[in-house]
């Protein structure tokens, strides 16, 4: 018997739980001020998230999926995406989209039940939120294939959760990405729970990253609560993708500090002690501690930022609430490039311009 192959999965973390550097930092973090924009974005994400939950709790928004705890992932990715890259989110990547320039009130609109929330004029090639699990990874393969076919120096960055790694779509996408050496990075947000199902019951695999090994593509694990590590790992993966050096699966370890959605009650399946432990590793305080310790952030900065983020969240809520509901014609307007004649009577009936017997 002989060993025909050996594999390893690397893990990257730069900051410990209290924001102290564990060793030399990557080049981009030599000047701590370079991380201030990421920190500001993370605080804004948290403010917008709190505002969305408040809107839902007061009956002014539909079911909403909180982003609490994953701010470092979204900020790290947002920092290394280039304008012409394509983002394919799941339903929890509003933070990434904010960094793509998407106006926050659009995200509120989406969760408020308005399709116009998926119109991103600020990043027109990015995909809309994707609620079915892992299906967006197949789209990402197609996007990356198109990019490679045209010989462009761009990449696709697709997001999925830990539960998604149990789906065939996930494996099919990784497999195909490997076959064609596509400019694709798949980022698994391992927040430890697929609604109530803990990561350890989702798979017997030691890591989720290693699932890429079977597909023959690069994989890495990263501390998803460490914005510097995420930016480093995803930045290198995207650079490889754009250079034609193939796809990467990145597993970002984090913890869903919120319920799955506002319709969920996580206390049914996890303990208060576990949640309290997870809060000790949360990403925002960690980056703030590092910035402060390195002279790039002060208490005054924090007070000013909190005030600014509260105002922006309030403005986003206002813009959302003041957007008039769509007219019924919206159901038909973009169903096809041009509505087939056969369905025009339905449009007229939906708009109250004809009775339903108009078909006869």
């Amino acid at each position: 018997m002989s060993v025909v192959a050996r594999f390893e999965v690397r893990y990257t973390q730069y900051l410990d739980e209290r924001g102290r550097a564990l060793g030399p930092l990557p080049e981009f973090a030599r000047d701590p001020r370079a991380l201030v924009p990421a920190y500001r974005a993370m605080v804004l994400m948290r403010a917008l998230d709190a505002k969305a939950i408040a809107l839902q709790r007061t009956g002014r928004m539909g079911t909403y999926a909180s982003t609490l705890g994953k701010e470092a992932i979204d900020a790290g990715c947002g920092a290394v995406l280039e304008k012409d890259d394509v983002v394919l989110p799941s339903y929890r990547e509003s933070g990434v989209l904010f960094l793509r320039g998407v106006a926050p009130h659009r995200v509120f609109l989406y969760w408020g039940g308005d399709e116009r929330g998926n119109v991103f004029p600020e990043s027109p090639r990015d995909f809309p939120f994707c609620v079915p699990i892992a299906t967006q990874l197949a789209h990402a393969v197609g996007v990356a294939y198109a990019i490679r076919l045209r010989g462009e120096r761009r990449a696709a960055l697709a997001f999925a959760g830990d539960g998604a790694t149990s789906k065939g779509d996930f494996h099919e996408a990784l497999n195909a990405a490997g076959v064609w050496c596509l400019p694709l990075v798949v980022l698994v947000v391992n927040n430890q729970y697929a609604i109530s199902m803990p990561r350890r019951r989702q798979t017997a695999a030691e890591t989720l990253a290693q699932k890429a090994i079977a597909a023959g593509i690069a994989c890495e694990q990263v501390d998803g609560n460490d914005a510097i590590a995420v930016r480093d790992v995803v930045g290198r993966a995207l650079a490889r993708a754009r250079a034609g050096d193939g796809p990467t699966l990145v597993e970002a370890l984090t913890y869903r500090l919120s319920d799955h959605t506002t319709a969920d009650d996580a206390s049914r399946y996890r303990s208060a002690e576990e949640l309290a432990e997870a809060w000790k590793r949360e990403p925002v305080a960690r980056l703030r501690a590092w910035l402060a310790a390195n002279g790039a952030w002060t208490k005054e900065d924090e007070v000013a930022l909190e005030r600014e983020c509260a105002a922006r969240a309030e403005a986003a809520a206002k813009a959302y609430l003041e957007t008039p509901p769509p007219d019924p014609e919206q159901m038909f307007r973009h169903l096809y490039a041009q509505l087939p004649a056969a369905y025009r009577w339905q449009r007229a009936a939906a708009c109250g311009e004809a009775t339903e017997d108009a078909c006869a």
Binding site: V86, E115, N118, V119, P132, A138, H139, G142, H334, A337
Partner: protein, 326 residues
């Protein structure tokens, strides 16, 4: 003009579309080196190269999903699913994404893709190779469903499907692939995607069908003609959106209608045609609408297919019931 069989006409249409539009790519299982298991894509790899004629891993859901990504990024993907029985794995992508992408993004992204597949029974193939899923796809909002029944219509409808700005499911009648040849002008001319074809005019009875069953339906019309009955034969061709007007106009003339499909009866597309006639054509009808369909069973394997498939005698029996009704 070349005389082509149906699968050759599909091949010509694919080649023509690829020639005329560099955005068109063909992808699927065994479509490249092997030219497709039915040879629908034969020669394309040599002409257009492996980047545009893509042999994919064996992953139907992925193939459909990646076509959505390609389409949103500006390509014009034409997917081949090897057999309709394997297309059920694509439903998640077609239903949840292909038919919704334009609407969900309010026109920001769109999905100009075609998903072709051979359909129908009587090709002596194994299990799962004889399915007729047209009603399942026709229920999906935001897409078109097309089922050609002759070489010339396959050519023109496929070109139209590829040029269409929205997703099209293109159901090819496998047992007609090599049944006969007819002259097909390789002129790149598309056919309309919202129109049924009146294949034969008549005033006594309307026979409605699509896909492979159009063949049996025409044979039944021949038999009726020998008895002096003039049956009008309509090939629906585009099931979604359905050209209700052509069917209604015919039944207004004949008052009697038989709808023929080999798919299982319950919620079949024949039921939709019957519902249209009940809702909009009731005053024209002189007899109940007859549906001649497959049974509500699993499509049987080859040895029982003949007892499952609608055939000329069953169509004639239904036609005679409709004609005799007073």
């Amino acid at each position: 003009m070349p005389a082509l069989n149906l699968v050759e006409a599909v091949n010509r249409a694919l080649a023509r579309a690829m020639e005329d539009d560099p955005r068109v790519v063909v992808l699927g299982e065994d479509v490249g080196v092997n030219g497709g298991v039915f040879r629908a894509t034969v020669g394309l790899l040599e002409r257009f190269g492996p980047e545009r004629v893509v042999d994919t891993p064996l992953s139907e859901a992925l193939i459909a999903g990646m076509a959505i990504g390609m389409a949103a990024e500006g390509l014009r993907p034409v997917v081949e699913i090897q057999f309709a029985g394997f297309a059920y794995a694509t439903l998640d992508q077609i239903l949840n994404h292909a038919g919704r992408l334009r609407h969900r993004t309010q026109g920001r992204l769109s999905c100009p893709m075609v998903m072709r597949m051979p359909c129908g029974a009587c090709i002596r193939a194994p299990e799962h190779h004889s399915e007729s899923p047209e009603a399942i796809f026709a229920h999906v909002p935001g897409i078109r469903v097309v089922a050609p029944s002759s070489p010339a219509r396959a050519y023109g409808l496929l070109l139209a499907a590829i040029a269409d700005p929205d997703p099209v499911v293109f159901l090819e009648p496998a047992r007609l692939y090599r049944l006969w040849r007819e002259e097909v002008a390789d002129d790149g001319a598309p056919l309309a995607l919202d129109r049924a074809f009146v294949l034969r005019e008549g005033s006594d009875l309307t026979l409605v069908s699509w896909g492979a069953m159009v063949y049996e339906t025409l044979s039944a019309a021949d038999a009726l003609a020998r008895e002096g009955v003039r049956a009008e034969v309509i090939d629906v061709a585009t099931l979604k959106p359905l050209d209700e007007e052509t069917i209604l106009a015919s039944v207004a003339k004949t008052g009697r209608c038989v709808v023929v499909t080999e798919a299982p009866r319950t919620c079949s597309f024949a039921s939709e045609v019957a519902a249209v006639l009940a809702g909009r054509g009731l005053t024209s009808l002189l007899a109940p609408v007859e549906r001649v369909t497959g049974w509500d069973t699993v499509t049987p394997l080859a040895r029982l297919e003949a007892r499952y498939m609608p055939d000329v005698p069953r169509i004639l029996a239904a036609a005679r019931r409709a004609l005799a009704y007073r």
